[in-house]
Amino acid sequence: GQSSAQPPGAPREVRIGVVSFLSGPAAPHSGIPSRQGAQLLIEALNAGEVPRPYNTPGIGGVPIRAVYVDEAGPVDKQVTEFRRLVLDARVNVVVGYISSANCLAIAPVAEELRTLTVFSVCGIQRVFEDADYKYVFRTRAHQIIDALGIARYVLLVKPDLKTIAGINQDYAWGRDSWATFKETILQLKPDVRVVAELWPPLFSGEYSAEIARLLAAKPDVIFTSLWGGDLESFVGQATPVRLFEESLVAMTVADNLLVPGPGRFVPRGIVFGARGLYGPLTPETTLSRWFGGRFRARYGYFPIHDPFNYANSILGVKAAFEKAIAATRRWPTVEEVVRAFEYLEFEGAAGRIRLALGNGHQAVEPVGFGIVRSFDPTKREVTLERVIRFRVECVNPPAGVKSLDWIRRGFPGAVCP
């Protein structure tokens, strides 16, 4: 009754700009799955088919209209498109962004235009650690959890590890990931030696020299934050020479390998990360069962982290709006939505999301890893063994502490297994 009726002052539709890579090398593994997740969820929301607590149609009974935008292109292009979304396409909310640089560039613009903007995938901690924003939120944890978590994981499964090596793309994500991993390992086990730090350029695709070097160096653990096509090329070239048997290879974005496409596989014995509890690590909840099932039925594979992240952003928007509506009993202003959004804790598509950091704008999440025992290419599923999940308090710094400082100071306040 009450819940499906529109509040007074409601517009005819809520327009949401959805930004992700629709072209270029980041599209197949990240941009397109993201868009798929967003589209599926928005359609289901409008039809009122999402399970509780999101079973009311649209947002506050108002249907959602999505405007999809390509994230590919230079940063000035992104800023222009953001402005066009807000000022020309008149969207009420912008959701998305995968590239960290774009998130950093968009945040101040969102403030200027007073537009509720919810980042979905980008992970750079600087967004909320170096600045305060009012209209900008991020419904996923920052990237620290991946590299930090996987470092803790390898120390647990291979406590006697002596040497590590890293192969990471030569750009911010690769640099940050490696720094986090290395710092964490050295913090927790100072006698570990780093035997190789390799920096292939982004999208280089040809890794025979790097692989030879890694084989020759024989490190106990190899850390990599490669993703997308680069990761697949690496896996394809490393498998025949049995790199994954020589060293324990830890991949933070291994779930990229599950995106459908011919001939692709997940090697056995690697440490599998999915940037949170997604993909094969997804916890069983009503929503995750529904979303995963729907997604698989429609797109032929179980959602990896990107579709979940986009879905979470949209669910967060809905939760915030409806919280504000409940408080004001009419259609809320953007400031009221923002106030409702801050420190919000809502049911995400794969477990609860808590906006605990950055003055209530930045989510914290648990993370988990496992070792691949087998891979089923038809269902595109892996079976993991030795799965360990790290709770939020283990891998996220406390509020007000910068991630890197937190690591360097020895994780004060961390609660870990």
Partner: protein, 316 residues
């Protein structure tokens, strides 16, 4: 002619929707880079590396704000000009010896090394995440939010108006003609006692400065500097726009830049999946059917009007 256009832009700008004003500001700022590249192209020199000067301007602004706390828009713009010009005056000493595709490729190589440096020294430059640039002040004041974009727009417009009119003078001056002359026949220039390298060097530094100026204005508008500014595809885009608009006339780069930004934004809007197809097709059409650039349309029109005017005179 150019003043009429400037006036027109100045008057209509505040009436346009907000994102258009922003788009115009960015397009105007980029037009400066394109203009500089167009000047070089008049001398037969195509640079596929001007992104580095563009980046120099942008990062110049970012560092000036971060390290020196300078926030005055005009000062920052001039700083961008100086940053681009300085870098160009160093590299130009080397590049002035090169012609043709080697000039193009060496520029590309150098700009990719600048790109690499911006990436490598990530602890200073922020790597690919880039550097944020805060709002600038105008005469010490921060314009209210509603007027900020318009202020930036007028800043860009003012700078462009000055630069375009200077460029207009330049292309008709001895130096401008010498540039065209050396493109046609360097041997003859030498045998007239003209100094080819020096002319190229001067124009190169000038175009580097303009690229820096453009970079500083863009980054003030956009608010974020990233290494991609120095990436080869950005440089390629500038060259493209120079041809798209037509570098034969100083207004070509200006109109080309504005049109290109709108076309691209339009393509993003109407077909977010296949904007490249749309953009590519449009560009191919322009190249195939208007190889002198869009501005040649205008010139053809004006030429026709002239002839028409003639026919009114009594025949002798």
């Amino acid at each position: 002619m150019q003043w009429a256009i400037v006036l027109l832009l100045a008057i209509v700008a505040p009436l346009l929707p907000g994102w258009t004003v922003f788009l115009l500001s960015v397009a105007l700022a980029k037009a400066l880079v394109v203009l500089g590249i167009g000047l070089l192209m008049r001398g037969g020199l195509v640079s596929f590396g001007h992104g580095m000067y563009y980046a120099a301007g942008a990062y110049g602004v970012a560092f000036a704000m971060k390290l020196m706390g300078i926030r005055e828009a005009l000062v920052l713009a001039v700083l961008g000009l100086v940053a681009g010009g300085l870098l160009a005056s160093v590299l130009g000493m080397l590049l002035a010896r090169y012609r043709g595709l080697f000039f193009a490729m060496l520029n590309l190589a150098l700009s990719m090394m600048v790109y690499g440096a911006l990436l490598k020294f990530y602890w200073v430059t922020g790597g690919t995440d880039g550097m944020a640039v805060r709002q600038a002040t105008f005469g010490g004041f921060v314009p209210p939010a509603g007027l900020l974009r318009v202020a930036y727009f007028y800043l860009s417009l003012g700078v462009v108006a000055i630069v375009v009119s200077m460029a207009h003078r330049l292309v008709r001056s001895p130096m401008g003609y010498l540039l065209r002359a050396l493109r046609d026949n360097e041997v003859r220039v030498n045998y007239m006692g003209g100094w080819v390298e020096q002319t190229i060097y001067r124009v190169y530094v000038l175009s580097g400065g303009l690229a820096g100026l453009g970079g500083s204005l863009v980054v003030l508008n956009v608010g974020h500097a990233v290494p991609d500014f120095a990436y080869w595809s950005q440089s390629g885009e500038f060259v493209f726009v120079a041809l798209f608009g037509g570098y034969g006339h100083v207004l070509g780069p200006l109109s080309g830049s504005i049109l290109f930004e709108f076309v691209r934004s339009y393509a993003y809007k109407v077909s977010p999946y296949t904007w490249q197809l749309l953009l590519g097709a449009m560009l191919a059409l322009v190249i195939l059917f208007l190889p002198e650039g869009l501005w040649s349309l205008v010139e053809r029109r004006m030429a026709r009007r002239d002839r028409w005017g003639w026919s009114w005179r009594p025949s002798s």
